[in-house]
Amino acid sequence: MAKRIEGVAYAGREDDPTDGGPPSDLTRRGLLALSAFGIASLADRTAFADGAEGQLTWAVHVSLAPTWFDPAETPGIITPFMLLYALHDAVVKPMPGSNAQPCLAEAWKAAPDGLSYQFTLRKGAKFHNGEPVTAEDVKFSFERYRGTSAAMLKERVKTVEAPDAETVRFVLKEPWPDFLTFYSSATGAGWIVPKKYVEKVGDEGFKKAPVGAGPYKFISFTPGVELVFEAFEGYWRKPPTVKRLVLKVIPEEATRLAALKRGEVDIAYSIRGELAEELRHTPGLTLKSVVLQAPFWIYFADQWDAKSPWHDQRVREAVRYAIDYKAISDALTLGYSPITNSMIPNGFEFYWKPPEAVYDAKKAKELLAAAGLGRGFNGGDYYCDASYSNVAEAVLNYLQEVGIKIQLRPLERAAFYSGYSQKKMKNLIQGASGAFGNAATRIAAFVAKGGAYCYGNYPDIDELFAKQESELDVAKRTEILHRIQQLVHEKSMYAPIWQLAFLNGVGKRVGESGFGLVKGNAYSAPYEDVTIRK
């Protein structure tokens, strides 16, 4: 190599003897820069590889809202129950093995005439501030409730009586067989808060520092970042073995999985598609699926319009045969979403098990031909919640194969449900519901006349529905509700797609994760049953 001559500016010159290679001092500088970058020194693998003792950490996919700390504002979605099961307790609530297990109540009984329900409260049940749970707290919690179905509850309940500290009686205006369904699971009205404390701090103060009777006490909340609970040793059922729960908000799915893989979190909610596949193949991690009470379906909004091709039942049936539901479930949820062929969740009271769904494209084409649409037709628009466009695209592909052309119309969630309930949509609607309840509550919303999402009705179904509303005999009521579901199936009012499975990841420190213990609950519950592996 030619020697550089001092004082000569070689920059960019052809005779620069160092061109093509860095001077040795830059190499040393490069190494120093890397050290200063400090990758090696900053990594503390031991600290991240093991969680704190007695603590489990969840990676949560949604930003936690302070309104979810207050049972009085429970909306009709499953997400707030992620927090309610930790912080609060209910008079009666879904628990392992039961859809309505007495919790803060030791026992309950319904009057033979169906006009009242009496609860005997559990002795020794306390709030986190040491106050006992009394009948006044139960009455107060019901009266301040303003969440989902509050209007209906208040309309049907005549009075709430608290004759003594341990007895609460709900007196109804008329027999209402679904009272306990609404009180125990479909709303937050039965989740109890301390009256004296709430009156002292006010509603907004309560959201900042909530006090409940659940297995965990509120410690701290950093909006959008994390929520911390500590075990309540005085919990009536049993003191939790996990002493500290941390719920970290990690909105990005891939980041949640990375955090789980590295051991920064012990449980990660909502891992889907290819990432779920990756999780399944990672040693030390477990994929846990929970089948939600959330069937997806195609609703034929125009089935009552005589001018629409969807009016013909054969055309609707053709859609049901045209779709390979299992293939869609396999592709999008690794096969964990069961094909129940029903728009009622299979865990609901009064559920009727329909015949299995059949995929038969040939039969679908025959039905279309019989309806005079053998050459195919333009089926119009297919509306869906944009976050489930992947399901819709798969459905549309199958419909295309049998000659039904559809235009996909994905909408942002709020706009979708707003349009759906305001009857602004037409042709086909990909709907779903994860609301708590029973078969009757779902039929009320989606099938019977006057339902929030009903675009039309069938008189025979309406007649049966009216009959079951006041039927107190469970066996008779079951028969009627089963018949309604059969009619829905026979008329092809809906083309059910699947019942959604929620896929989650569990790390190696976790013993019992709580997934699937409470039927239909998407999250870990009950928390006092969650354990750390020894």
């Binding site: 959008g224 990005e252 942002e412």
Partner: protein, 306 residues
């Protein structure tokens, strides 16, 4: 000079007014927050009640006036989603954004300036070409992609760095690099072009002709002059970094202003979105105003022209 400053302040206030009006109207075009805050299919009465609670039943001009009034009094309103004062939410997260932006800025300058100088000094050589690749990648690769690749490599494969969150210096490394790379590329390009311009100037030629060592010519005579536009840009970029790191903060779950904005948009939390955009815009307008005034102070030609 006074006239110049007054005019600049006037334009800044006008910009601020237009910004506030634009964001006020734009967020309302996205839809009704009440329908998002309640469960799907909530009754019209429930929606109407909530709209009343949130003040959304008022005429638009009343809502705008309340927004401006609250901003001027320092009360940025109450978050629809978090039910907490927006001011508290903003200032809780601001230190995290300042920290991330500062570290990312330092990284971008530490990488961008030396590599820009090297590229200019070795035009057409290995360092110049390497710099071009670095710049191209930094400016064109989406930050979410860079972030996820870094997480895959350093968290999952190597296990060296935490995937997300904040709290230790280790948490800062990947988000700062992801955020800083784009700006490093920009600083590198500007440094290179600025250096080339300065290196071609007469006084540098004179310095060389006088026999000064090349290191002295570059380091003392050329570098300082070439740095002026870079530092100006860096100052403006710092403000930009604080306010627009939405994707980086979401990928790394970094608790900063960007994530607050993302959450505000997701939940149609009008007060949050309005506050973040107007405060961020105010910072940028203020920085530009100060730069304009400084330029006028330094260079009389500017105030004479205006």
């Amino acid at each position: 000079m006074k006239q110049y400053i007054v005019r600049r302040i006037g334009y800044s206030l006008l910009s601020l007014f237009l910004l506030s009006l634009t964001i006020f109207l734009f967020v309302r075009v996205t839809g009704d927050p009440a329908s998002l805050l309640l469960e799907p299919g909530a009754s019209p009465e429930d929606i109407a009640n909530l709209r009343q609670q949130l003040g959304l039943d008022q005429p638009l001009w009343v809502q705008y006036w309340k927004f401006v009034e609250s901003f001027l009094t320092g009360d940025l309103g109450q978050s629809f989603y978090y039910r907490a004062p927006v001011l508290n939410l903003y200032f809780e997260r601001l230190p995290n954004s300042l920290l991330l932006a500062s570290v990312a800025m330092v990284l971008s300058l530490v990488i961008g300036i030396p590599s820009g100088v090297l590229a200019a000094v070795r035009v057409g050589g290995f360092w110049d070409n390497a710099g071009k690749v670095f710049t191209l990648l930094g400016l064109s690769l989406p930050s979410f992609f860079i972030g996820l690749v870094l997480i895959l490599f350093f968290t999952v494969y190597l296990g060296w760095l935490p995937s997300s969150g904040a709290g230790t210096p280790a948490h800062l490394v990947m988000p700062a690099f992801t955020l800083g790379w784009y700006f490093a590329a920009a600083h590198m390009r500007l440094t290179r072009s600025s250096m080339l311009e300065v290196l071609g100037s007469e006084y540098v030629k004179l310095a060389r002709l006088k026999g000064l060592p090349e290191a002295l010519v570059i380091g003392k005579h050329a570098f300082k002059n070439a740095l002026i536009p870079v530092i100006t840009l860096a100052g403006i970029n710092l403000v930009v970094m604080i306010n627009v790191a939405v994707v980086v903060e979401t990928v790394f779950a970094w608790p900063g202003i960007g994530r607050l904005l993302y959450e505000g948009i997701s939940f149609r939390d009008f007060p949050v979105v309005q506050a973040v955009v107007v405060i961020g815009g105010s910072m940028i307008i203020l920085v530009n105003l100060l730069v304009d005034i400084l330029y006028a102070l330094i260079d009389p030609r500017i105030r004479m022209e205006s």
